[in-house]
Each structure stands twice: as C-alpha cells, then as structure tokens.
C-alpha cells in the first residue's frame, strides 16, 4: 500500500503489475479509484458557467453523456484535466483528479460567484470502481437489468448492480472498453467482491499507470502541469474556439515544445525529468516512461522542441549518463 494524495492505495496485488496489466488487455480488471473527486455544478447558469470555465464544449453535451475536458488557469496553463457528465440540462457532475480536487473546487467556487449556479463537493458520497478490459461488458451485463451493449462510449446509465444503486459510465483510462462504476461507499465492497468473484482481476496503481502510458494518455502532474498549454499537445481538440478563463494567454502562446510519444531502442527506462537530446543538444525532457508490458519495449512521453517532433525523428534519451537511441512514435504503443 502506498500513500497517493493522502489516500492509502495498493500499488499492486500479489498478482503483480505485469499480470494485472495483461489481465486488463486480454480480459477484465477492476480498480478502486474512489480517491477521485466528484463536484456537482448546479443552477440556472451552470452551462454558461462551465462554458467559460472548462475548455471543451458543455453546450454540446447531451444529458446522460460525459466528455473529457480541462480546467484552465489564468496564465494559459491547466489546473486539471477532468471528466464532465451532464445529469440534467443545468446539473453536471465533474470528476477531477484526486490531488487537484481542492484546487479545482476553490477556483470554480470563486468563479461561480458571478453566475446563478453553485458548486457542491460530493467526493465523500461516492465510491468509484473502474472495470476495464474487452470482457467487461459481458461480465457486468450479468448483474444489471439494462442492456449494456446499447450503452455507447461516454454515455452513462443509472441502474442497480446486485441491488445497489449505481451509475455506470462507459469510460476509462486504460485504452480498453470498460465502465466506471459510481456507487455508495457502503456498497463498494459488495460490488468489488461480486465482480472479482465473477472473474475480474484486482488491479492497483502500478497497472493503472502502465496501461494509461501504453495507451498514450497524459497524467496530470507528469505530462500536464500548471504551465502546460494543451494546444501544444495532441489534446488540442479539447480546446474550443470560444471565450474562456485564461484564453488570451493560452491562445497567444507559441508552442516551442510539443508533447510526443517516444520509443527507445533498448530496454532501459526513461524516467521523469531525463534529458532528450538531438545532435548532442538538449531538446526536451521525459515526462513519463516505462516498459510496455504488451511489447516489452521501453516507451515514454515527453516534451520535444517543435522542429524535432515529427513521427520517426531520431533522438537520444540520457539515462544515468548514457545516451540511448530513441524514435518519436505516435501512441498507442501496442
């Protein structure tokens, strides 16, 4: 067990990170991600408020659906990346990262003073389990009355899971099909037992990280920080051309570096902060790296100078004083 943003969480179960990872890619795994935040934004002007204070477009979000989005700060950077669900026309549930919930809540509460809406912290009222893998729909379908095959990606349904009220969202952070299961904290253990006894492999933080990295997904704190301009990443599509908090700073910043995927030519691990070089010049830094459990190759994400960022560009990563050859590669890495 490790401390993660003041939550005690398993890094892995006795199965080990590699096996847990492979279980998700080949069948189905289950994560306890109850540390994530939940903020409700509700009121007559909830949509206008979110339109200005998140980067994606909540006006296009239908009731019963969710979208990946981001919270901007004043200086053209990010406070967090989030998921936003529209529960009613003027009632939204936002899922910030565990470590950023307080910052997001404080900024949104302050901004909400200008609108007819308010922000409620619901983190304590929800437990969250993530069931992920190609076998997840078949497994979960046995325990719910609704036909899960009809649930589209990014949609959610409110239903009962073995007698427990639960919201099932077809979302996830692994690059596989899956469901994020919102339930009452008192029901979490029942649902966890039910799903693991039915064949879901318990998975910890270690596998969660290798899965998202193999899929090329950013992690706030590694790839994204308060200084990250999302327009300089492959997630620029999230940022809509509309007025938003901090827009001037973000829109007007030129991208000196962009966030790219990197594949190393030998199996040393590129760790956060390692230098990226081209022709002996430092051109960037690694933000995350690991060995891909699927391919056994050394993979990484990092910022590289824009002129050296095309797919196939050769570079070198400095690992403990040695230069290891690498190539820019667009994720997913498997």
């Amino acid at each position: 067990m490790v401390d993660f943003s003041n939550w005690q969480m398993p890094l892995q179960y006795p199965t080990g990170i590699n096996q847990e990872h492979m279980a998700v890619r080949s069948n189905v795994g289950l994560f306890d991600v109850s540390h994530m935040g939940q903020l409700r934004i509700i009121g007559n002007q909830a949509t206008e408020f979110l339109q200005y204070n998140t980067l994606n477009d909540p006006t296009s979000l239908k009731v019963g659906r969710g979208q990946y989005s981001m919270i901007p700060n004043q200086r053209g950077g990010l406070v967090d990346d989030i998921y936003l669900y529209r529960d009613k026309l003027d009632n939204y549930l936002m899922i910030p990262n565990a470590g950023n919930t307080a910052k997001v809540k404080n900024q949104l509460k302050l901004q909400a003073e200008k609108y007819d809406c308010h922000v409620v912290d619901e983190t304590e009222t929800w437990a969250l389990l993530a069931l992920q893998g190609p076998g997840s729909a078949v497994l979960l379908d046995r325990f719910v009355e609704d036909d899960l095959t009809m649930l589209r990606k990014n949609s959610y349904v409110e239903t009962t899971l073995s007698g427990c009220p639960a919201r099932l969202a077809r979302t996830g952070y692994t690059g596989e099909d899956g469901f994020e299961i919102f339930c009452r904290p008192t029901d979490a253990y029942i649902i966890w037992s039910l799903l693991t006894e039915a064949g879901a492999t318990p998975c910890g933080l270690g596998a969660r990280d290798t899965l998202r990295l193999e899929a090329g997904f950013p992690l706030f704190g590694n790839e994204f920080t308060g200084d990250t301009n999302p327009l300089c990443t492959s997630y620029a599509w999230v940022v809509k051309d509309k007025p938003f908090y901090g827009r001037k700073a973000m829109w007007e910043t030129k991208c000196l570096k962009v966030l790219r995927g990197i594949k190393l030519h030998r199996r040393g691990i590129a760790r956060h902060g390692y230098r990226i070089l081209k022709n002996d010049q430092e051109i960037g830094e690694v933000t995350s790296g690991t060995i891909s459990p699927m391919t056994r190759e050394s993979i990484a994400l990092g910022w590289v100078e824009t002129e050296h960022s095309n797919d196939g560009t050769s570079l070198a990563i400095e690992i403990r004083g040695q230069l290891v050859d690498a190539t820019i590669t667009t994720p997913p890495f498997f």
Partner: protein, 128 residues
C-alpha cells in the same frame, strides 16, 4: 524468503558464492528482487574490469527504480550472465541460480570472510 546457507551476503543485498578456482559468482538476494519488482534491464560490467570491495559494478533496473550492485570483494570480472539481456526476469524467478549476474576472479578469500552468513544477513539486512 530464501537465503541459502552456503552463500555469503552483503548488507547491500548481494550474495557471493564460495570461490571455485579463485572465481566467485555474485547476484542479488531473494529479498532484493522482491523489493525491486519485475527486473526489466541489467547493465553488466565489461570483462576485465577491476573493482575494489564496495565499488558499483552493475545496475539492475525495475519499473520502480534502478539499483547499483556492488562488488562484495576486490576482484576482476571474468564472466557476465549475458542471458540477462533477453531474460532479465530470471533475477526475479531464480535469483541464486539462473539469475546470477557476474563472476569475479579474486586474489584471496580474506574479504569473503568479512561478509555475513545467511543468519546474520536475515537479522541485519532483512528484519531491520
């Protein structure tokens, strides 16, 4: 957790075999491999490299971290386990046999007798 009686140990979690024709074999202990997690890469020394007792000789890398492996005695590298290039996980599955890392030719067994026996290693280095 297993610590064979016929080996000697360091407080930095290396094991060393008894000398055979003046050559000792070195690896890391069951405790060390368990702490590291899945080994993904090993940096081996070059044949002929010479080391004093306590010098860093090799690096064992897991997803968690990279760990230096130190010379338990003074010696010269005469063999390295090149199987570890393709199968670094042998350090996890078989740390005392197929997971051996390098072999040193040594002058005398004086420094070997400085090392911990299995019982002392378990007490000092493992159950701290």
């Amino acid at each position: 957790m297993d610590f064979p009686e016929d080996l000697r140990y360091t407080s930095t979690h290396e094991w060393a075999s008894a000398a055979e024709n003046g050559v000792i074999t070195i690896g890391i202990t069951d405790f060390a491999q368990d702490q590291l997690g899945d080994v993904v890469f090993v940096e081996l020394p070059q044949l002929g490299d010479q080391f004093e007792q306590g010098d860093p000789v090799a690096v064992v890398e897991s997803v968690k971290t990279a760990s230096d492996i130190y010379a338990p005695t003074k010696g010269t590298v005469v063999e390295v386990n090149s199987n570890l290039e393709d199968s670094p996980e042998e350090i996890n599955s078989d740390p005392y046999s197929r997971g051996w890392i390098f072999r040193l030719a040594i002058d005398s067994t004086n420094e070997l007798s400085d090392l911990l026996d299995a019982k002392a290693y378990r007490l000092n280095a493992v159950e701290e």
